[in-house]
Homo-oligomer: 640 residues x 2
């Protein structure tokens, strides 16, 4: 590892987002998603699945109080994934085993939002919930309402299937976000107390377990970064080093002999440092890989860093949709085998792309690389944004690349493919994940080290770096133009990413180009003008991807485009694009020349050239699809 | 209905198959499948799942004996689909709830085989099993080992989920086959006794139930044809008329309120005479439709006949693979929606194509129609034959049109897609279904009525019709040539099907052509020579089928062809066929000109024309695939 390439992201308090596109998204989160989610957490949304999140904390707080008074409180067995009204005593825990995390993700998003948009009323709401959470914490620091309510004797007894360490991770991320924006330490203290208990419980000479659903690893590193308590870092490393060792901890504790293959699901089939392929549940995967990258950097662990690099390369080059979606199979919400990227069966979960961005940013902190930064961009502008409707009120879990509503309604193989966004989910991981990423988008734009400030994402912002102020004025999305005004306090190097989609660019200043970044020496106050030629491109997919042979996708800048029925008529499969077409822009549309085959009703007939008529194809950005009612959509189109 | 078009199939005892192709298949069944299955029924095959079929009958016979001696015998709850060794008392019923049917299907195949190839040793084996079956029958005629062993108080209490009436149907078909070939009435008597009990139990003024898995309907009609006991016909009609009436019988009995949609699975969502689309579990569907056609003809029920015609048309024109496979989704082994015919996820169960042939033959008995006879041919020469390996020792359940072994191994969505045939199945419906169809293939060749003999399938045979002897000498499969020698006892009309795949043909005699059949007046002994021009054809699929746009399939005569990796290299998706290719024959192969794209490893790149090299494509008949080890296969190929 070349430690001179290490850098750190610039925290939110040092970035003010001014970008029109992203301000609007952040406002949607602030004015729509956060209030809506607040109501959802309190089970006050008509017609949506109940969350039970807040009510679980109320129950847990009551129990903790009674326990501290020496009262006897009944327990309920913690034996299943989902506790619904029909199956549980009213006093028992309700919802999914990871339900606490929804509250935490909401607080995390609120924290980010407050950092750019102070709001006393919202802050008070969050503080009230934080009070409730703190009063739910047990005397020893333990904090997971499922076990507090249902099974206090079973705490940490099934790390594989239940989610205590996962909830801890989200608690910690929420605590740090809220602390960073408000200076309020209450939730941070709660997170530290729970972290202390975890550090006392797990380790080389203690219980040798590790999380079933990863996230505690990266959360502990973040907590170390805030508190500088080395124990947190050590425990994060322990979780990563212990994972996948044989005999399996899970087997030992649960008294089972599991077929090794099953542990691919949660990346515990072998030690992370020996993993070179992205496998299993995609969200779990990228959360683990994020933690691995954190540890690799902080311990300068070459082997772990190499594993991360190989896994990222496997994702980018063999397992990622053109939209930045990952996890191509709904079964296990998992990575499939290399080049298995079906369009109409894609899972491509919103959360997985959020997690991919977490992982990629950490890899950029190890070494700047434009492929990695391009991956952040690809996932962000396509799958992540697709996850939320334009009005911020409905959400996708799965982000397919081809949708026929009839198939979603009638074909059970596609029951995960929704042709319209849903209001809310009982298992509500995606909406709050989108909310927290959008609210914290500033953390993904730039990194800095002793010598250099890196601009990875061109988002309009005012930045206070360690080298002085920067102002990024960005017309990147519309015309590929960026202007960076620099008010340096000392000499430094500015490095800006050259996106892979751009073949031709101009810079106003002399620069050196390395690994897809342009490096400028900055001495005085100056303004660097950047022009990336942004043209419509036809992209083809490797012919190892069976679904896309003979087809192309239309892109412009970071945006992947798609065809919708509302613009192009039904039976999108009958359309093809003229491979020599010119393209024009018309508002949000890209217009191209193409053909529509005449409908051929006869199921089987002797081959003859299809009769075709000329049509104008109208493409819209992929992330905008399904905002005009239920209709067909596809990204890839046959080229003729 | 035009009753002058009604005809009846010519029974096996009046047909001697002389056809080389079919003799060889029948010999495989006789020398390989029947003996192998006999061992399987006795759980004597190493490495195969246990059948338990014979042992269940031994247990049931013992219980029946004890009961007749007034002894008390314990029962076990009949509460699940599959009873395996781990979960059941050794004395309890083992296997699937429909396990008895495997024994019956074996006897049925043996009966057909004996009719063309007497074999005293085999007959004795069947007689011994028949003795065992007869001694398992309860005094009141009831005969289903699951309930006899496990739950004698629960008989007929769950028609929806369990399979007593299904097993009755197979018992009856076996009994008739064995009686027809040997004259032995023992099993026929047992079937009649069970049928009598069923007729006493179910009806307008009795229990208003009907089978969950259909087959009893067509079996009762067959039993009526043999015995002329009108009650059997009436009860078959009752089952069809009662099905789908509201409130649902199943709901009433089981005390549930089921969502109506669930009953699409077993075609009970509405009354059969109001059904116009093939839905639900495909095998159940075609078994029901067969019974409907039987009843429509015998009662001259126009409405029911119209329903059958619409359903058949829906299958042929919108829901059938080019291979004659039906039931395109593995979930529920079911018909999907119109034009949803994915190649790589196809279920296309062997049994469903066998059942489609049952249905189509009954429709031909109502009115000759070359589309219907073509459907028999399509299913027979492709999906049904694909179901069995060339050595008769392994079998397919699912018959996909595109296979990547890596996907079958790694992608759980394709776990039903086996890249090689399996030895035997615990749920062994397909192998014995293939065996009974091949052994009785003679029944599918010709039908006759007062005026006309129809030849629907060109299989070499010596036939004793009601109009005199016919000899069919067939080189149909290889060169499209058939010679029919006729030794009439009176004047009659001979009608022969003109296959849809043939554009050009010559007949040695003058004829009239109607509905795809050529009609010849026969006065004296004569010989009619038929020449169908049999050329290689490229077939395209309706562009409503999303999977096949821009692709073609290669066919010759009744055979659909495919590409295998062993002949064409890996990554079959990289191949395309020159749309102007000429074709040549080389042994079993069809050779064509085509292209192979150069492997393009980069996942996403700017579109440019693919680099291609010229290749010779080698196609083999679809039914022969997977006889040379595990490898890729596809039917459709891009045309350029």
């Amino acid at each position: 590892m070349d430690t001179t390439l290490f850098s750190e992201y610039i925290p939110l308090k040092s970035i003010e987002i001014t970008d029109r596109f992203w301000r609007q998204k952040q406002e949607l989160v602030r004015t729509q998603v956060i209030p809506y989610q607040y109501e959802a957490l309190h089970d006050r949304i008509d017609g949506a699945e109940a969350s039970y999140s807040v009510s679980n904390f109320i129950k847990a707080a009551d129990i903790v109080k009674k326990l501290s008074n020496g009262e006897d409180v009944p327990v309920y067995p913690a034996d299943k994934w989902h506790y619904d009204e029909a199956n549980a005593d009213e006093c028992a825990f309700h919802g999914w085993v990871f339900q606490d995390s929804d509250v935490y993700k909401w607080i995390e998003a609120v924290g980010y939002s407050l950092s750019s948009h102070p709001d006393a009323v919202l802050q008070k709401k969050a503080e009230d919930i934080i009070d409730l959470i703190c009063s739910s914490q047990m005397e020893n620091g333990y904090l997971d309402t499922l076990y507090i309510i249902n099974n206090r004797d079973g705490i940490f007894s099934n790390l594989k299937d239940f989610h205590e360490l996962y909830c801890f991770g989200h608690l910690t991320e929420a605590a740090i976000s809220f602390y960073n924006s408000t200076g309020d330490r209450r939730l941070l203290n709660a997170a530290c107390r729970f972290a202390d208990l975890i550090c006392e419980t797990f380790g080389e000479t203690k219980i040798k377990g590790y999380p079933g659903h990863e996230i505690a690893e990266m959360a502990l590193v973040k907590l170390y970064d805030v508190t500088l308590n080395r124990q947190y870092l050590e425990t994060a490393r322990f979780f990563i080093n212990e994972r996948g060792k044989k005999p399996y901890y899970y087997d030992t504790v649960l008294g089972r002999t599991t077929v090794e293959d099953n542990y691919h699901y949660n990346q515990a089939h072998c030690e992370p440092r020996h993993q070179h392929e992205a496998v299993g549940h995609a969200v779990r995967g990228v959360y683990l890989y994020s933690g691995m990258a954190d540890i690799a950097k902080r311990y300068r662990d070459d082997e772990l860093s190499t594993a991360c690099q190989k896994i990222l390369s496997n994702i980018i080059n063999r397992k990622m949709y053109i939209t930045g979606g990952i996890g191509s199979t709904a079964l296990g919400e998992a990575f499939s085998f290399d080049y298995d990227l079906p369009n109409d069966l894609a899972y491509s979960e919103t959360c997985a792309s959020v997690g991919l961005i977490f992982f990629a940013r950490r890899m950029l902190e190890i070494a700047p690389d434009s492929d990695t930064a391009d991956t952040v961009e690809r996932a962000l502008y396509n799958t992540v944004l697709s996850g939320m409707s334009e009005d911020g009120r409905s959400f996708f879990y799965a982000n397919p690349l081809e949708v026929l509503p009839e198939a979603s309604h009638k074909d059970e193989r596609k029951r995960h493919i929704k042709p319209t966004r849903q209001k809310w989910f009982g298992c509500a991981c995606c909406p709050p994940n989108v909310a927290r990423l959008i609210s914290s988008i500033g953390e993904y734009c730039c990194t800095q080290n002793d010598s250099t400030v890196y601009i990875h994402q061109y988002i309009g912002a005012k930045i206070t770096s360690s080298k002085g102020r920067l102002e990024i004025l960005s017309d990147y999305l519309s015309i590929g133009k960026i202007c960076v005004r620099i008010f340096p306090e000392k000499e430094f190097t500015l490095a800006v990413r050259i996106p892979k989609w751009c073949d031709s660019y101009t810079f106003s200043h002399k620069c050196e180009i390395r690994n897809g970044y342009a490096y400028f020496k900055i001495f005085d106050e100056t303004q660097i003008d950047i022009q990336f030629e942004i043209s419509v491109r036809m992209i083809k997919c490797s012919n190892r991807v069976r679904a896309n042979i003979g087809k192309i996708a239309v892109t412009r800048g970071p945006f992947i485009y798609c065809l919708e029925e509302v613009d192009n008529g039904a039976d999108l499969q009958m359309l093809s694009i003229d491979k020599n077409t010119s393209f024009s822009l018309d508002g949000q549309y890209i217009i191209a020349e193409g053909y529509r085959e005449k409908d051929c009703e006869s199921l089987y007939e002797t081959f003859k050239e299809a009769e075709k008529s000329d049509v104008k194809l109208k493409f819209i950005p992929y992330y905008k699809w399904a905002n005009r009612g239920e209709n067909e959509m596809c990204v890839y189109i046959r080229a003729e």
